[in-house]
Structures are given as structure tokens and as C-alpha cells.
Amino acid sequence: MSDTKKFLFVNRKAPYGTIYAWESLEVILISAAFEQDVSLVFADDGVFQIAKGQDTTELGIKNFSPTYNALGDYDINKIYVEKESLEARGLTVDDLLKLTYEDEDDDWAEKDSIHVVSSAELAEIMDQQDVVLSF
């Protein structure tokens, strides 16, 4: 498709405390219907959105973290996490959900969607986009 654009969603807020994380996820899922080239960034407190082991039972609100596991089904498989943001919060990639996708061009092999990148690499990724949406 010639009019495919590169969309980047930048997620910078922790989940639950505000509605940004959930709103962003809904927009991301909707955008997938338009078959654009979608990438996601999790930086600053946004890295908390994809922390593993979330359990909101006692809060009585919806735990939407399982939904990130569906992103592969929606052909969203370029997920960038800023290394500096993880480090500032005492986190490593092992504290995050294991997000994967099945590569159609490689006999449906399961591959990691998450790429931990430096601030400098992230700046470059942002620079290459047609549309950047920040939440």
C-alpha cells in the first residue's frame, strides 16, 4: 500500500493512576484496523504499563495488561522500551511482560516484540516517523 504511514505511539504515563495508558491502548488497537506501520514506545513512567505480574483484583478495576499480549495478533511488533527509563526505576527487561509475535515470513516463528533501546536510538526512531502520538 503506497499511502502507508509510519505511526509512533509514545507512552509515558503509569497505568491506573490516570486514564492515559488505557486510552492509548484503545487508540493503538483501533489504528491497527487501518493497516498502518505502527510502532510503540514505552518511556518514563510508561514502562510501568508493561510491568509483569499486575493484579488489580483488590482495586476492583480492569487489569488491561493482558491486552498488550494481543498486540502481536494486531501485527504490532515493534515495541521500543527506553533503557534509561528502566534503569532509573530499578527495572530490567525481565520485569516486563514477554511480548511476542509470530513472523509470517519466517514460518510463524515466535519472536520478541520488545526492543530495549538507548535514548539516542529512541531519538532516531522518533525522527523517522510520519506521525507521532503522545500519551
Partner: protein, 102 residues
């Protein structure tokens, strides 16, 4: 006079926890709730500030908010007390006043 301070914002996004620590008097209690619970973890850029403040202040963190965010108790700074909702209520009763840092 004993006072309970509640902090519900992430220390990485806003300076609320820092302000609370600066202005809370010695012997006060601080409970971290909602996104404030991220301030209770080890090895972050906010940990040193909290560890220093713990010399003068008692720190608590709400368990339901930890669980919701996938923060395992093993990642908490040593000496921070995990409380449930009834523990939170008890803290508000045991202190003369409550200040909510928003």
C-alpha cells in the same frame, strides 16, 4: 503532633514525594498509595531520597496498589511497612491529622 501524609503520585513524574519529605516533620508517617507506590522500590533514582528520609519518617505502602502495578514486595526498600486497607484506616485514626499531597 503526629501527622499522616499520603502521596499518590509517581516520584519520577512529579516532585510531590520530594516536597512531602522536605516539609514533613520528624516522627510523621508517610503512606504511598496509587502511583505513589513506585516511590517505595529499591535501586531507583528516588530510592536514596526515601532511604535518607526514613531516618526521620515512618514509611508505609498500600498492598493493593502494589499488586495492581505488579510491584513485588521483594523490590521494596527495607524498612517500609506494607499495609492493607484496614491498616491504612488505622494509620488515619492513629494520627491527629492527615495531609494529602496531590
Amino acid at each position: 503532633m503526629p501527622m499522616l501524609h499520603t502521596v499518590n503520585k509517581s516520584p519520577f513524574e512529579r516532585g510531590v514525594l520530594e516536597s512531602c519529605i522536605r516539609l514533613a516533620t520528624k516522627g510523621s508517617a508517610v503512606i504511598l498509595i496509587e502511583d505513589g507506590v513506585y516511590g517505595a522500590t529499591k535501586a531507583s533514582t528516588a530510592s536514596a531520597m526515601v532511604e535518607e528520609a526514613m531516618k526521620d519518617l515512618d514509611f508505609y505502602v498500600l498492598s493493593s496498589d502494589l499488586k495492581a502495578r505488579g510491584v513485588d514486595e521483594s523490590r521494596l526498600i527495607d524498612g517500609i511497612t506494607v499495609v492493607d486497607y484496614s491498616g491504612f484506616v488505622k494509620l488515619t485514626v492513629d494520627n491527629d491529622k492527615v495531609q494529602s499531597w496531590l
